[in-house]
Every structure is written in structure tokens, then in C-alpha cells.
């Protein structure tokens, strides 16, 4: 199962990096979303077993709820560690908000500049009354 998840993570990463490196802002947004999915899946894969392997110093992986019963091992045998899933849930919610923001930004950009291509966006338009527009021109050459 871990192998399957690992392959999924790898594919997600590859596709998202490909999209992030593109010149299209829609692709950038999709790449960012996929990256979030890859991150969540990788948490699921990396979260490990519910009980820490017999390390007396590491107490935490005996979950606090199961800890109140005496036969902990039996309770834990049927459980996975709930905390990574809580983390993923939080990350999904945050990713959702970010997705909403990115899409809004795309719409605003498309409305105000009429393009979603990085190359066309990068050309300082005549409507560009910002004082820094001049100084950003030599920067492109420097970097």
C-alpha cells in the first residue's frame, strides 16, 4: 500500500513541477494544487505505524485516548495513528482556501490585463503607471 501511495506522490510531484515550470498561469495554479495533494498523500505514507517501536523515551505514539484503557495493545492493533489524518485535514482546508485565492487572482489578472500568459504579462504595458516598472526592466536581464 505504501508503495502505491509513493508512486502516486511521485507522479503528482512530477506533474506539478512540470506545470509550475510552464509559462501559463492556469498551469501554475493547477501545479500548486497538485503539489498540495502530493504533500497530503506523502504525510499519509510517512506517518508510520501507530505505536512507536519500543522506545521508552518516545511516549507519544501511544495515543492519549487509548491510553486510558488497560489493554492498550489490543486497542491499538485495530487503529491507525489518527494524528496524521488530522494534519491532512487541516492542510486540505488550508489548501482549499489557497485554491480559492489563486483562482480569484487568475480572474482578476485576466480581467485587468487580458492575458494569462507569463510572457505577455511580463511586458510592461502602457497602462502601467507604477514607479517601479522601470526598475524592474533591468532586473529581468540581471537575473
Amino acid at each position: 500500500m505504501t508503495f502505491v501511495i509513493a508512486v502516486c506522490v511521485a507522479v503528482c510531484f512530477a506533474v506539478s513541477v512540470y506545470l509550475l515550470l510552464g509559462r501559463d498561469l492556469k498551469g501554475l495554479a493547477m501545479g500548486v494544487f497538485l503539489l498540495g495533494h502530493a504533500a497530503n498523500l506523502s504525510i499519509l505514507a510517512m506517518s508510520g505505524s501507530p505505536v512507536h517501536p519500543t522506545d521508552p523515551v518516545a511516549l507519544l505514539k501511544t495515543t492519549p485516548i487509548a491510553d486510558y484503557d488497560t489493554p492498550t495493545d489490543r486497542a491499538l492493533a485495530g487503529m491507525v495513528d489518527p494524528l496524521p489524518q488530522a494534519l491532512i485535514l487541516t492542510a486540505i482546508v488550508i489548501g482549499f482556501a489557497v485554491m480559492g485565492f489563486m483562482l480569484t487572482l487568475l480572474v482578476v489578472t485576466a480581467r485587468s490585463t487580458g492575458t494569462l500568459e507569463v510572457d505577455e504579462l511580463a511586458q510592461p504595458g502602457d497602462a502601467d503607471a507604477d514607479p517601479s516598472s522601470e526598475s524592474s526592466a533591468p532586473q529581468g536581464a540581471a537575473s
Binding site: A39, L60, P64, I94, L105, V108, A129, P131, S132, Q139
Partner: protein, 548 residues
């Protein structure tokens, strides 16, 4: 019960949250929003200062959310370093906020500027306070979402164009942060910083550190270094900051990079750099610090746009503070804490000065300025700008001197003396850059007439609210100057911060004041940790013992 003053920490996060939410329905009543926001930042500033003065040198204040003991629940930790950062960040927020009254167009202000600033400060405060890696991620996300909103507020074309660079880089960093947090949980089974520190120290001692431990450190380093603007990952910063409205640029320049630096200072000495591991990280950090300083200084010398020069001067400061963190002796960490605090105030003040200069000249291009000191009413602005530049360079009467002095003194004595030498050289280059800025703006010949037309932005109303602009700028520059002249209390706090960072046991004892963690090798409560740990742990004892 624990000492109830500890729970006051929560207010530092809750006040901006409540005020921000309050501003949402009132967004069209700008005056009311301004009052609410100013109250919010003044309150957090006063609270942070009070907590520092009352309890700061006695130990670490810890508040466990909902009464869940340390590694299970969410922990908020207030020690000297977070206190200094909180106070400085709130002051920067207050100053830039005052400035924004006069400088932001009404239309922009109504586009949820007030709630966004409040929520951003909530995220910033939470990341200074949290004692949990995942919570740090959440705090970063709150801060970043609000900062994305502030970055594109008003929505100029250049602003939108540069915003993508910032948004994409930070989203990438956030994803890496999630992955790294998951890896940390997979390796150690905990995300509490103190607990991670305890486990990592134990495993380093017994040579059983997980295989990817250093790689984990590198992942976190990538995330924090990107936020801080450390050398290879700094390229987004000088592009994005100049494009937003100057009050927001000042706020970002003062606060956001310092959050990344704080995260490095908090997590690396505690977790990733142990006796048996993490030396690669120290070397990486040292090289990055040297290159950040050096490239920042070169950039500051190369560009002529004032905003861009200031952004690059900000990066020089990041390099110095990072160097102080890398040296990692108590003294150097003290210097880093002091330097970060003063750098926040000075950089935000300089950005605001830059805004006032632009108001007069209509451009941020220093080649088209000159002789500003001769213009009527510019003397005080000149004084403030000069004081700010001195603070960046670190010349003696200003507060920048002490921080740099300590960092370089400790750095030259340590193994990274080469970086210290680079720091000395960069100091000279910074002086050169500052002199160049000064001589092309306030001194020097005024520009030729046909070259400086009245091209001031028609969108900005002519001179409304100048008082609040000057008040905000004077607040920040004055505070940075006061830190230089009356440095004693701040240095004392910074010294405590340095000591606390250099000896993690204090932090651990305070956070993990939980009888389950009274590990056998733990010595009797030393006098060092102070009353915060002792008084916190003991009353819990019978209560907790019942569960076992």
C-alpha cells in the same frame, strides 16, 4: 491551577483576530476601522512589553491550550526572544498602520485593508508564540493568505505580475513545509518543538537518530530560508516589495522576513543541530549567511530605485542576523535577537521615509532626486532618513551598532571567522551604499528641471493626512533611535533570549512541565528554569497521576 498570567499570552493572538473580524462588517466606516486597528496593535505591543518586563527574565511562560498537557495539545510559549519579536512587530504594525491612513487611497482602504492587516499580524504573532511545528505551519498560512491579499490590494498591473512570483514561491514552500512536518511526525511521533528537541537529543546521544534527520533539517531550512529571504531563495523579495503600496511594503519589509529568521532561530538550535548531527546544516547556513550579506550589499550598490535599494539593504540585515544564529553561542544569539529587533524597526522606518520622499519627488528613482535637503519642510524627513541609514549601517549612536558588534565579535572568535570577515567587509559596502543613497537623495545637486516633471501619481491625493504619515515614520525611527540610546533594557532582554536559545533545557523544562516526562535522567529542578517551570509542574502532579 497554573500561574494565570501565562494565559495572557493567548490575548496576543486573540486580540488581532477579534479586531480583524470586527473590521469586516465595518469595512466601509474607515475611521472606526482605523481606531480599532490602532487599538489592536497598541494592545499587543503593550501586552508583549508588560509580559517581558514582569516575567521575561524569570523564565519561559507557557500556556497549554485547553489544558491539554504539552506534547498532546497546542502549546503557546512566550520567552524573551518571542517577546522581543512580538513587541517590535506590533510597533512596526502600528507605525505602518498610522502611515497608511494618509497614504492609501480610500478605495484601497475599503477593500478589506484593515481586516487583512489585523489577520496578518495575528498569523505573525502566532508564529512567534507557537511551540508546535504544525501550528507554525498554520500560523504561516494565516500570515501568508493575508499577505497575498495585501500584496495585490489595489491591483495595479505590476503588482499583479509580481504577486505571482511571491504567491507561487510561498505556496511551494508551504507544500514542502507540510511534507517536512509529516516526515518529522513519522520519524519522531511528535510535532511539539520541545518534545522533538528532547527526542532528538536523546537519539543523538544513543546514536539512533533516524536516517533522514539531516534531510529533514534541510527541508525545514528551505522553507524558513525562503520566508526569510536567505541567499539562494531571496530573488522574489526585491521584486515584490517595491510594487505594493509603501505602507504595506514597510510592514512586509519589517515583519515578514523576521518571521522566517525567528523560525530558524527557534527550531535549529533546539532540534536540528545536535551533538551528533546537523553539522552540514551549520555549514550551509554559514555560507548562506555570508552570501546573503554580500549579494545584498552588491545589489544595494547596483540599483538606483530607492525601494529596491531598501529591499536589498533588508537582505543585508537578514544575512547578519542569520550569521548570529549560525554561530550559536549565547552571545551571538543575543546579538541576533537584538539585531533582528532593531532591523524590523529601522527597515520599516526607512521604507516609510522612502514613501515620504516619493510623495515629494514623485519617483523612487534616485537619479532623479537630489538636493532634497534644500527643499522647504524636508529637514526633519532628512534627519529621520539619515538616522535610519545609520541604523542599517550600524554606526555607533544608533541601535544597529550593538547588534552587529556582538554578532561579529562572537563570529570572529568562532569557527566561522571567515564569514565574520565577510561581515566586516559587507559593513563597509553597506556604508558605501547608504552614503550613495544619502548623497543622491538629500545631498547632491538637484535634478535638471526638464528631467523632473510633476509626475506625481494622480491617484494619490495631494497632501491629505500628512500628520499621520509623519507620525508613523517618526514612531518607528524614534523607537529605533531610542533602542540605541536607552539600550540597557533591550540588551538585557536580548541577553536572556540568547541564554535561553543557547541552553534548550530551560525551554524544555518549561514546556514539558508534565510528570509523565520527568524522565529518569532528568535532574532535580535546577534554579535556572525558574518559577515558570516549577510552579507549573507541581500542582499538576496529582491530577495527571490519576490517568496513569
Amino acid at each position: 491551577m497554573k500561574d494565570p498570567t501565562c494565559n495572557l499570552i493567548v490575548l496576543i493572538v486573540v486580540i488581532p483576530l477579534m479586531m480583524g473580524l470586527l473590521c469586516v462588517p465595518l469595512v466601509n466606516r474607515t475611521r472606526l476601522c482605523r481606531v480599532i486597528g490602532s487599538l489592536s496593535f497598541s494592545a499587543t505591543f503593550l501586552l508583549a512589553c508588560t509580559l517581558l518586563v514582569v516575567r521575561g527574565d524569570q523564565g519561559v511562560l507557557v500556556s497549554q491550550m485547553g489544558g491539554w498537557a504539552a506534547p498532546y495539545g497546542i502549546t503557546l510559549v512566550f520567552d524573551a526572544l518571542s517577546g522581543l519579536m512580538l513587541a517590535a512587530a506590533s510597533l512596526v504594525a502600528l507605525g505602518t498602520y498610522l502611515y497608511s491612513f494618509g497614504s492609501l487611497p480610500h478605495r484601497t482602504e475599503r477593500r478589506y485593508f484593515h481586516p487583512l492587516v489585523n489577520l496578518m499580524m495575528m498569523g505573525v504573532n502566532l508564529s512567534f508564540l507557537t511551540g508546535d511545528l504544525f501550528n507554525l505551519f498554520v500560523a504561516f498560512e494565516i500570515m501568508l493568505m493575508a499577505s497575498y491579499g495585501l500584496l495585490v490590494i489595489g491591483g495595479g498591473r505590476a503588482q499583479l505580475r509580481q504577486a505571482y512570483k511571491y504567491v507561487a514561491m510561498n505556496l511551494l514552500a508551504s507544500s514542502v513545509f507540510v511534507i517536512a512536518a509529516g516526515m518529522a511526525y513519522g520519524m519522531f511521533g511528535t510535532l511539539n518543538i520541545a518534545d522533538l528537541s528532547r527526542l532528538a537529543a536523546h537519539q543523538a546521544e544513543t546514536q539512533t537518530l533516524p536516517t533522514g534527520f539531516t534531510a529533514l533539517g534541510v527541508l525545514f531550512l528551505f522553507v524558513f530560508a525562503l520566508k526569510a529571504g536567505v541567499f539562494p531563495l531571496w530573488f522574489w523579495l526585491p521584486d515584490t516589495y517595491p510594487t505594493c503600496p509603501i505602507a504595506i511594503a514597510g510592514l512586509f519589509g519589517g515583519v515578514l522576513t523576521k518571521v522566517g529568521l525567528y523560525a530558524i532561530a527557534r527550531t535549529f538550535p533546539l532540534i536540528f543541530i545536535q551533538d551528533g548531527a546537523g553539522h552540514t546544516l551549520v555549514v550551509i547556513l554559514a555560507i548562506a549567511a555570508a552570501l546573503t550579506m554580500f549579494m545584498g550589499a552588491l545589489g544595494a550598490l547596483a540599483y538606483t530605485g530607492l525601494r529596491r535599494v531598501l529591499s536589498l539593504m533588508l537582505l543585508i540585515g537578514v544575512g547578519y542576523a542569520l550569521f548570529g544564529i549560525v554561530v550559536m553561542s549565547g552571545g551571538a544569539l543575543e546579538g541576533a535577537a537584538f539585531y533582528m529587533t532593531q532591523s524590523m524597526l529601522v527597515m520599516a522606518g526607512l521604507f516609510l521615509c522612502c514613501g515620504l520622499i516619493e510623495r515629494t519627488t514623485g519617483t523612487d528613482e534616485t537619479r532623479r532626486m537630489g538636493g532634497l535637503l534644500g527643499r522647504p519642510g524636508m529637514v526633519w524627513l532628512g534627519v529621520m532618513f539619515f538616522v535610519g541609514l545609520l541604523g542599517v549601517v550600524g554606526l555607533p549612536p544608533t541601535s544597529g551598532f550593538y547588534g552587529k558588534l556582538v554578532i561579529l565579535r562572537e563570529g570572529l572568535a568562532g569557527p566561522f571567522w571567515l564569514v565574520g570577515l565577510v561581515g566586516l567587509g559587507v559593513g563597509a559596502l553597506t556604508l558605501l551604499a547608504a552614503l550613495r543613497v544619502w548623497s543622491t537623495t538629500f545631498w547632491g545637486p538637484p535634478p535638471e528641471e526638464q528631467d523632473s516633471p510633476q509626475e506625481s501619481d494622480p491617484a494619490t491625493p495631494p497632501s491629505r493626512g500628512r500628520v499621520s504619515e509623519y507620525a508613523g515614520t517618526a514612531l518607528l525611527v524614534g523607537a529605533s533611535l531610542a533602542m540605541g540610546f536607552a539600550a540597557e533594557p533591550v540588551i538585557g532582554t536580548a541577553a536572556t533570549a540568547g541564554k535561553q536559545l543557547a541552553s534548550p533545557q530551560v525551554y524544555l523544562d518549561a514546556v514539558l512541565a508534565n510528570p509523565r516526562y520527568a524522565a529518569p535522567e532528568k535532574t532535580s529542578p535546577a534554579p535556572g528554569p525558574g518559577s515558570a517551570a516549577g510552579s507549573g509542574g507541581d500542582p499538576h502532579h496529582p491530577h495527571e497521576a490519576g490517568h496513569d
